[in-house]
Symmetry: C2
DNA sequence: GGTACTTTTTACATCGTTGGAACAACGTTG
DNA sequence: CAACGTTGTTCCAACGATGTAAAAAGTACC
């Protein structure tokens, strides 16, 4: 059924190795033989057995990408870009979902044997430093949040600065009661965005109040809506809200609308991630737009360098650019 | 570096095969030996080399999933469910993106050697019957649109009936000028939804007009907005629109709002796919909700059956359920 | 103690490929 | 024409696992 090198060799009347040499572009093959092998290859429709080749070469041709959930737009978009970037370098991408739970993240990480994949890009949500494998197992690149004291390659935008940029924008509009949605002590990303939020407040001469910072276990739309409702129920409700991601912001938009208030007139809203849908919400969402393509490319670059090159390079920490995308949700007077 | 069966065998003082037997749960191993092997396994932290195992077994443990783009919410959500369903059966999923172009789809399909993956789920957009590989190459299951005369397993909802359901709902609200957005002769899905649209119109005693059916090359939000603008510019604009997917509908919502009209009062809108975001748009979108979980499970089931079981089974054609999810975009009076 | 049978272990070949060494063929050179 | 370097080809082992079959060990029975 399946065509192997041997079949091709028999047909061409040469040895298996010569066929292998032709397939792999080895220079010294007599033109006559090369021609015959190529004909035989074409005639049989030979395709190398990737598994066997990789067994021999010690490579698999696969990368793993670990994310919480593909159905979350940010991860769907990111995964798409990662796959595209990986493909350019000849890798196929295997996707593992963790639902953002620490146990599934650990499990996934430890299941990534060196035989299964050549390297992995991981976007942890709840992992702690202790969970990381002894360095040198397989090349690992971390995306997003930086789990501090782990010497592992890492690519992300400057979350603190980005959050600060978002909140400063709100302050520059003259808003004085600026709330935040998304506090979650278990997640590093949350702390960083919170830090940026506080910096921006103090730069603007505004005081920080715990009451204006709504927690959010999961950063989903429904949670954003609930958080917004409770903020608007405060005695002195906010006139602006910084949501730690776009999904929370989309939920917040809905909560505001349901109460008959207007965005941005009554409450201005800024999100984070620039999901594609955020350009089409009503009103369209002002948001922090990380350069996801740059992120994906940088991550693939890093893992590529690790795999093919110097494994002793110290851990890299790469920051990719972001921009503030100003849209209707903060544009009105 | 890496631990192999041989290392474990040496440590436990038995043969490689005995270790293999323990690892694979072979019944006849002396308790004493089993214990020692298990200790050695634990001590060395042995992990099977998947590539080698599969080379021997003739399996790879991978499935491919071919979709146009992960950044499209429907495919992100579907891919997530497929991965989850596959994982339950011990498969890892490899994702290939085609951007919905016929050339990339053909390329992907032909690159799926039997060595790379055990089977594939493909969601074609532009493929034609001739592009399909000779049956029997690798188990293939088609998702979505049915490319007619190809004897390949297929899972989808009844697109015609679903479209008809959506449009009948609009008609039942008393709407008489019901438009459609998404015509695209190159896509089978489009023809099916168009057919359902026409059936519903005639069932409701409404006449069909080409002018009310807007084309859409890509089913993206911006295209939906543009299409809606042109429909609203007609001499007698529609009072309801059936969009062939939710993204088009989200775009349409925006176009309506920008013209100062209201949904559903002036124009009722129905989408298709039930993307998560559609429950949170303003207004929330009435839409056809395919049971994506059932779809994913059925597809994995089918490919599983093909791989492990009877390869000569005639091609299956499975329909999974859908529901009409009624929300704000059609709910007003 | 021998025979027949079952349980347990091992040696060996094998999956499809590639690296390396050995070998063959060839033309060049002294 | 012997020695040599260059090209081109083949043979063999190896990657890490498992299937097969045969050998070894154990058990039961007469």
């Amino acid at each position: 059924m399946t065509v192997t090198l041997k079949d091709v060799a028999t047909l061409a009347g040469v040895s298996v190795k010569t066929v292998s040499n032709v397939v792999n572009g080895y220079a010294f093959v007599k033109p006559e033989n090369r021609r015959r092998v190529e004909e035989a290859l074409a005639a049989t429709g030979y395709r190398p057995n990737v598994g066997a080749r990789n067994l021999r070469r010690g490579r698999t041709g696969f990368l793993a990408l670990m994310v919480p959930e593909l159905s979350i737009p940010y991860f769907g978009e990111l995964a798409g870009l990662v796959i595209t970037a990986a493909q350019k370098r000849g890798w196929s991408v295997l996707i593992e979902q963790t639902q953002g739970t620490r146990s599934r993240e650990r499990e996934t990480l430890s299941s990534l044997g060196p035989h299964l994949v050549d390297g992995a890009l991981v976007h942890p949500e709840a992992l702690e430093a202790a969970d990381f494998p002894s360095p040198g197992e397989i090349p690992l690149v971390m995306l997003g949040e930086h789990a501090v004291d782990v010497p592992i390659d890492h690519v992300a935008i400057d979350n603190v600065l980005a959050a600060q940029t978002a909140v400063s924008h709100l302050a520059s509009l003259g808003r004085t009661r600026i709330a935040a949605i998304g506090r979650n002590p278990a997640r590093g990303t949350s702390s960083q965005r919170l830090a940026g939020y506080r910096t921006a407040l103090s730069l603007a001469g505004l005081s920080y109040s715990d009451a204006l910072v709504a927690p959010a276990e999961k950063w989903h739309r429904s949670v954003g809506a609930a958080a917004m409702r409770s903020l608007l129920a405060l005695d002195s409700p906010p006139d602006a809200v910084f949501c730690f991601n776009d999904l929370l912001a989309i939920g917040a938009l809905r909560a505001v609308a349901e109460l008959g208030l207007r965005v941005p007139e009554d409450v201005a809203i800024v999100g984070f991630d620039n999901n594609e849908e955020s350009a089409f919400s009503l009103p369209a969402l002002t948001t922090i737009a990380p350069d996801k393509t740059a992120l994906a490319e940088a991550a693939i670059d890093l893992v590529h360098r690790r795999i093919t090159g110097d494994k002793t390079l110290p851990a890299q920490d790469i920051q990719t650019p972001f921009a503030l995308e100003i849209r209707e949700s903060t544009k009105g007077r």
